[in-house]
């Protein structure tokens, strides 16, 4: 049988119920003055003070060992915190990558020294990471990386260009994927991951790339013979590909893959409430059903991650179906409410609609495009 199995998600224990209530109370207070327009930035909204407060609450690095500043809580407890943050439109962008992806990679592949240096600071909400994978000639085809790191005594000499690096201008460090031996024709072999100090690396220049809405969140990182201490190699030289692949289940299955446009749904509810319209009720019913089922699938992957099972396939399904859902919202909203989107309005429906319309195309690109995800799923079905 070819069905891809999703185990039952964890039940809401007393601990989880209490945690959710605690997070909601915290958010109600912290976000009181955050506008709907700001909330609609979802995980692209960033506020380092907010990240530090989350660190103080013990809500970053939640699943990591206590000796590295973690809190030894379950993957599902982390899930609950993350989904509540996203549902409330909290500014989680500063710590997002570090907590979701870079920290877990360092925990898995890092040296003892790296773990002791990075993890406590990430868990405190004080150190932020970016991901340096994509390049001008290497997008979906990540293995085609041309950025080269050549070992020279105690350092790697790095030359190359990374693009679309989210928050590189605000983060402290990045995990960068590059080639340490061979040529692009060697594909997966000869690639590695390096930890890059974004603030103190001579030979590294970071330049903004402005998105279609005029926002600056991603960047180009150019390395010109930059000397990166060999101690900043993450994991094993030559194992970069396998290491990157192991991050992807973390990257692709979370609630950020279907909650990006949730603020628009709230706005829609505010407008439609009390209209007694059949169309409004039916639409809300169907959207709610899709959302509830996506949540279940996503929580199901969390339980696989908790058990350290390989969830790459399941995560790809969550991201593919999730992106369809979050991207469908602007058009569905437009079937029910007439409104001209206005990106410079400070708040209100027109402002939120504009922000969502502008950003939604990126949700099926970043983190693996729809086509790449479907290719992964098709391989899982045995058809490739």
């Amino acid at each position: 049988m070819s069905a891809i199995p999703f185990p039952a998600p964890p039940a809401d224990s007393e601990t989880v119920i209490a945690l959710r209530a605690e997070v909601r109370a915290f958010l109600a207070e912290e976000l009181a003055s955050r506008t709907d327009r700001q909330r609609s930035d979802s995980w692209c909204g960033a506020d380092k003070d907010f990240s530090r407060k989350m660190g103080q609450r013990g809500w970053l690095g939640m699943t990591w060992p206590k000796r590295y500043g973690g809190h030894e809580r379950t993957a599902y407890e982390r899930y609950v915190v993350v989904e509540e943050m996203l549902a409330a439109g909290a500014p989680v962008g500063a710590h997002w990558i570090a907590d979701r992806q870079s920290g877990p990679s360092i925990l898995k592949f890092g040296t003892e020294e790296q773990k002791q240096y990075f993890l406590p600071k990430i868990a405190a909400g004080e150190l932020y990471f970016s991901i340096g994978m994509s390049e001008p000639d290497s997008g979906s085809d990540l293995a085609a990386t041309r950025t080269r790191a050549v070992r020279d005594g105690d350092v790697y000499r790095v030359t190359g260009t990374k693009v679309w690096t989210s928050f590189a201008h605000q983060s402290d460090w990045a995990i960068m994927f590059c080639r340490t031996s061979g040529t692009p024709a060697d594909r997966h072999n000869g690639t590695s991951q390096l930890l890059i100090d974004l603030k103190n690396t001579p030979g590294l220049t970071i330049r903004p790339i402005i998105d279609l809405a005029g926002q600056h969140h991603f960047n180009e990182m150019h390395f010109e013979d930059a000397a990166i201490p060999a101690s900043q190699l993450l994991g094993s030289e030559g194992q970069g590909w396998a290491q990157v692949m192991s991050e992807l289940a973390f990257e692709r299955s979370g609630p950020e893959r279907f909650l990006s446009s949730i603020e628009l749904l709230y706005q829609l509810i505010a407008i439609l409430r009390g209209r007694q319209s059949d169309a409004a009720q039916i639409t809300l019913g169907r959207l709610t059903a899709r959302l509830a089922v996506l949540r279940r699938l996503s929580r199901s992957v969390t339980s696989m991650l908790q058990e350290e099972q390989d969830a790459g396939l399941q995560a790809s399904i969550v991201k593919d179906v999730g992106a369809l859902f979050e991207q469908s919202l602007p058009d569905i909203a437009r079937e029910l409410v007439d409104c001209e989107p206005d990106p410079l309005a400070a708040s209100g429906y027109a402002a939120v609609l504009a922000n969502i319309v502008h950003n939604s195309p990126s949700w099926s690109l970043r983190g693996g495009t729809r086509e790449i995800l479907r290719g992964i799923i098709a391989r899982g079905l045995g058809t490739r």
Binding site: F6, A8, I282, L284, T288, V293, S300, D320, R384
Partner: protein
């Protein structure tokens, strides 16, 4: 274990010619006897109620198998009717049973009369678990006659029944038969989608055009991936509905049922497209599943009815209450 037994029995005793006979309206009494001798009509009951005390996962697996084989008998309905009857403290069905809600019936001088629309295999049932208002009745076969014939999209009979029955007092209704039925259908939909996906993979893997199997084309692969996504959603939706049903949460049933109904339509079209013309025939088995998907997605309350129930609750919850509501589903 139970799943394996069901699987073996269905592979042995339900072939395509039996399916064709059922489509013509024939009651497969031999198959019914075999399935009931395995105890399946009691499969959703706890041990206290005389069932096997299966876990939710085991129950789901059994129900999905009924969809996976497009079983042309009202077995899921009988399982659900027995769950409802047992919960209400009424006697269980002795044969096949139907599940219905009919608030338009009248009860006068102890006589229950009126029409129950479109009951699966109504002429062959032993009894009906029938909700009228907040009461549940176990109406025996002698309590109805045929009011009108009717058929499902898969051609299985859906006659309307004229009830004329000297009612007993019935029992307080434990949960709505529509919620019960919608949950059962969600599992059957997931099961039928499993078969639709399996058939699509094997067909596109063997059919050669332009010198290579269809499935070597990326456009075909991506549609199969989408079908796998719809299957994952339907399966999760059925589980979600079943858990909600068990805790008496009708909104959760609505959410699960709606998403499974949606997957039924999308999945059936992807599978048919992947098969080409042969998928549009009775010669190929795919139609057993597509026509059943088109049947099941519209039963036990329609999509509009369930969507309005969930959607009006969402609107009532309001901007601030919406997310908290979603996390209870």
């Amino acid at each position: 274990m139970l799943a394996e037994m069901i699987q073996r029995l269905l592979e042995r005793s339900l072939d395509d010619s039996a399916q064709a006979r059922a489509r013509g309206g024939e009651w497969l009494s031999g198959l019914w006897t075999e399935l009931s001798e395995m105890g399946l009509p009691l499969a959703l009951l706890s041990e206290d109620q005389g069932g096997f005390g299966l876990t939710g996962a085991e129950q789901g697996e059994a129900l999905r198998l009924l969809g996976r084989h497009a079983v042309p008998l009202p077995l899921a309905e009988t399982m659900g009717a027995n769950r409802l009857l047992a919960a209400a403290g009424l006697p269980l069905a002795e044969g096949a049973a139907g599940l219905a809600r009919a608030d338009g019936l009248t009860l006068e001088g102890g006589r229950l009369t009126g029409t129950v629309e479109r009951v699966a295999w109504g002429e062959h049932l032993d009894c009906l678990a029938l909700a009228v208002g907040d009461r549940l009745y176990r109406v025996p076969r002698s309590g109805w006659s045929l009011a009108a014939t009717g058929h499902a999209a898969n051609y299985h009979p859906r006659p309307s029944l004229a009830i004329d029955w000297q009612a007993d007092e019935g029992a307080a209704l434990p949960h709505c038969p529509l919620a019960e039925g919608a949950t059962l259908r969600a599992f059957q939909i997931a099961g039928a989608l499993e078969s639709a996906l399996d058939l699509s993979i094997s067909h596109t893997g063997t059919r050669v055009q332009f010198g290579k199997p269809l499935s070597k084309n990326q456009a075909v692969q991506h549609e199969l991936a989408r079908l796998a996504g719809e299957l994952a959603c339907a399966t999760a939706a059925a589980d979600l509905a079943a858990e909600a049903l068990a805790r008496g949460d009708v909104l959760g049933v609505a959410a699960g049922s709606l998403r499974a109904r949606e997957a039924a339509g999308t999945g059936a079209s992807i599978a048919t497209q992947a098969h080409g013309a042969i998928g549009f025939t009775r010669e190929h088995r795919l139609h057993l599943f597509t026509t059943s998907l088109w049947t099941w997605r519209d039963e036990f309350g329609g999509q509009v009815q369930w969507a309005k129930l969930l959607g009006s609750a969402a609107l009532d919850a309001g901007t601030a209450g919406y997310w908290p509501m979603v996390t209870t589903l």
